[in-house]
Amino acid sequence: MIVNNLFLTPLFLPILAASIILIAKSFLSVKARQFCEYFGIIIGLLLPILIVLLLYPFVIHNGSISIIIGSYTPKIGILYKFDSLSLVMIVLTNLLTLPAWIYSRSTNTSHSYFTVLILLQSAIIAGISMTCDIFNLFVCLEVMGLIAYVLIASKNEKNAVFAAFNYMMYSSSSMIFFLLGSFGLYRLVGSLTYQEIAKTLVTLSSKDQNIAMICLILMIVPILIRVAIMPLSGWLVNAHSKAPHAVSAILSGILIKIPLFVLIRLFSISPLMHNLTLVLSYMGSATALIGVILALSQSDAKKLLAYHSISQIGYIVTSWSLALHHGIETTLGSVLLIAALFHAFSHAIFKGLLFLSIGTATDAAGSRDVYKIRGVNQRLYNKGEKYPLTMICFFIGALSIMAIPPFNGFFSKSLLTYYIKPSINYTILSIASIGTIASFIKLSKIFLPSKEIEKPIKELNTSKFPFSIHLSLIILAALSLLTGIFAKEIFNLLERMFISTNIKPIKYSIFFSKTNVLKTLYTGLGGILLFVIATSKYGSKILHKLRMVKNDFIDQYVAYAITLALFFWVLIV
C-alpha cells in the first residue's frame, strides 16, 4: 500500500510546493521567500523525477499499478493507473520545466506566481498521465488549459492577451463537446472508467455501438485541438509566438504532446477506433509538410519556430497512429510507439533550446523580423555576453532539428522514418525534412555579422549578461547532446518498458548504415537547394503570398466541423 501511494507523489508534491511558496509570499520576508521558491522547485520538480525513476524497476516488474484515490471502493473512487507511459510523461514534463524556470529568473516580473503556475502545471500533467476516468480527464484537461491561458497572457503585451483569449474561447467551447461525449458514454454504459466502458461496450448492440463511436469522436477531437494537428492548429501559432520565451518553450515542448499520449488510452476503449488510425497518420504527415512550408514563409522568428512545432508534431502523430494501427502489443507497433516517444522527448529538448536562444537573440536585437535582424552576436556582446554561447546553443538546437548526428534529433528521426518506410507517409516526411533544413538556414542568417553595429568603448561596457539564461541554455544543449550520444542506452530503457518479451527489435545498425547516411546527405543538399530557390525572386513572391494568408476566429470552427465530419464518415459510414 505504501509503495502504491508513492506513485501519487508526482501529483501531490508540486501542489504542496506551490502552497508553500504562496504561504511564504504572503507572510515571510523577501529572503525567506526566495529560499522557499528554491525549496519548492526542488521538492516539486526534482524530487518527483527521482521518485519516479526509483520506481522504474517496480513498473517493469508489475506492468502497471492501480491506485484508487482516497482508498474508496472501485465503484465510487477515481481510478489512477501508473504505467510506463505515465513514467515517460512525468519525466519529460519535469525535466523540461526546470530549464524554462531557470530561464524565467532572468526576467524579473512576478517570479513566484510563475513558479506556482508551472508547479501546478506539472501536478496536473502527472494527473492526466495517470487517470483512468473520463470525467477526471476532462477536469485535468480544463485545468491544464486554464494554466496555459494564464501563462500565455502573463507577459504585459496586448497581443499575448488576445492570443490567449482566442485560444481560450476555442478550446473551452470544444471541451464542452468532450463533456457531451462523456455524457453519452455514461448514459450507454453507466460507468466512467476506461476498463468498465471497454468491457460493457462489446456487449452492446451495433446501433448503440455507433452512438458510442459518435461520443468517442466528440471526445477525441477536442484533445486533438490541444495536440494541434493540421486543420485544428489555428490557435497555436499566435499563442506560442506571443507568449514569453520560457512559456513558449513549455507550451511547445510539453503541452502539445501530453494530450496525444493520453489518447492512446481513449483509443483502447473500443476496437472499432482502429479504423481511424490510418486517417490520422495521413493527417499527421500532411501536418508535417504543410507546417514546414508555412514555417519557411514566415518572417517573424518565433512564428517560424511555432510552425515548426506543428510540423514536428506531425512526425510524432504519424508514428504514433501507425503504432496504434499495427497494435501497440505487436513488435512493430511498440517500436513505432518508442520512436514517437523518443521524438517527442528530443523535440521537447531542442525546441525548448531553440525558443530560449532565439528569444534571447530577438530581445537583444529589438525586433523579430528574420529579414531585418543581422549581427545578433555583436549586439549580445554589447549587452555583456563574453562568449557567443547563445549562438552555439542555437546551432546545437538547429542541427538537432535538422537531424544531423550526433544530436538527438538525428536518432529519433532516423528511427521514426526507418520503421514507417515503404509507405506514402515516408515520402511526405522525407520532403518535410528538406523544408526543415531550408527554413533553419534562413533563421540562422540572423547571426551573420553586420557592419552597422559599432563596438562599444570597453570602459563603458559594464553591463552583465544574466547567468540564468546561459545556465538554462547549457542544460538544454547538454541534454540534446547527451541524449544523442547515449541514444542506444535510452532505447534500451524504453524497450524494457514497452516490450514485455525479451527480444530487442531495434537494430542500431540502421543509424549509420550507408542508406541512412546518404539520405541525410541528400536531405541536406536538398535543403540548401530549396533555400536558394526560396530566396530567389519567384520563390520569395510565393512565400510572401503564403505569409499573408490570415485565419479568422470562425475558420477554426469550420476546421473543427470538417474534422468531426471526416471522422464520422470514416468510422460510421
Binding site: V143, F165, S173, I554
Partner: protein, 115 residues
C-alpha cells in the same frame, strides 16, 4: 421528457451562435456560459430519469435520482466559473489597451500597433 430536451437544445444552439457570430467579446463569453449551462442541464435531466427524490441517504433510499451526474456537474460548474472569470479578466485587459470590445476592431488596432 422530449420537450425539455428540445428546450435544452435551443439553449445550446443560442450559446453556440452567440459564441461564433457575435462580435462583442462580452457576448461571446455569455455564449460560452450558455453552452456550459445547457450541458449541465442535460446531465441533471438525465439523472432524474430514474427517480424524483434528492439523493440524500436519510432513513430510506428509495426513488432517488442518479447521484453521480450531480456530483460531476458540481465540478463542471466550478470549471465554468473559472473560465468565465479568466475570460472576463482578459476582456478587461483588452478593453483597457485597445479601447474597444469589438473583436474585429481589437484585432485591427493590435495589428496597427505592430507595424
Amino acid at each position: 421528457m422530449i420537450i425539455e430536451r428540445v428546450l435544452i437544445f435551443f439553449i445550446f444552439i443560442t450559446g453556440f451562435i452567440g459564441l461564433i457570430s457575435m462580435k462583442n467579446i462580452i457576448k461571446k463569453i455569455i455564449g460560452l456560459n450558455l453552452l456550459t449551462s445547457s450541458v449541465v442541464l442535460l446531465f441533471i435531466l438525465e439523472a432524474s430519469r430514474i427517480g424524483d427524490e434528492a439523493p440524500i441517504i436519510d432513513n430510506k433510499v428509495q426513488n432517488i435520482v442518479d447521484p453521480i451526474p450531480q456530483a460531476l456537474m458540481l465540478t463542471a460548474i466550478v470549471i465554468g466559473v473559472c473560465v468565465t472569470a479568466l475570460s472576463l479578466a482578459m476582456a478587461v485587459r483588452l478593453y483597457k489597451t485597445t479601447g474597444s470590445l469589438d473583436i474585429e476592431i481589437i484585432k485591427q488596432r493590435l495589428e496597427d500597433d505592430c507595424e
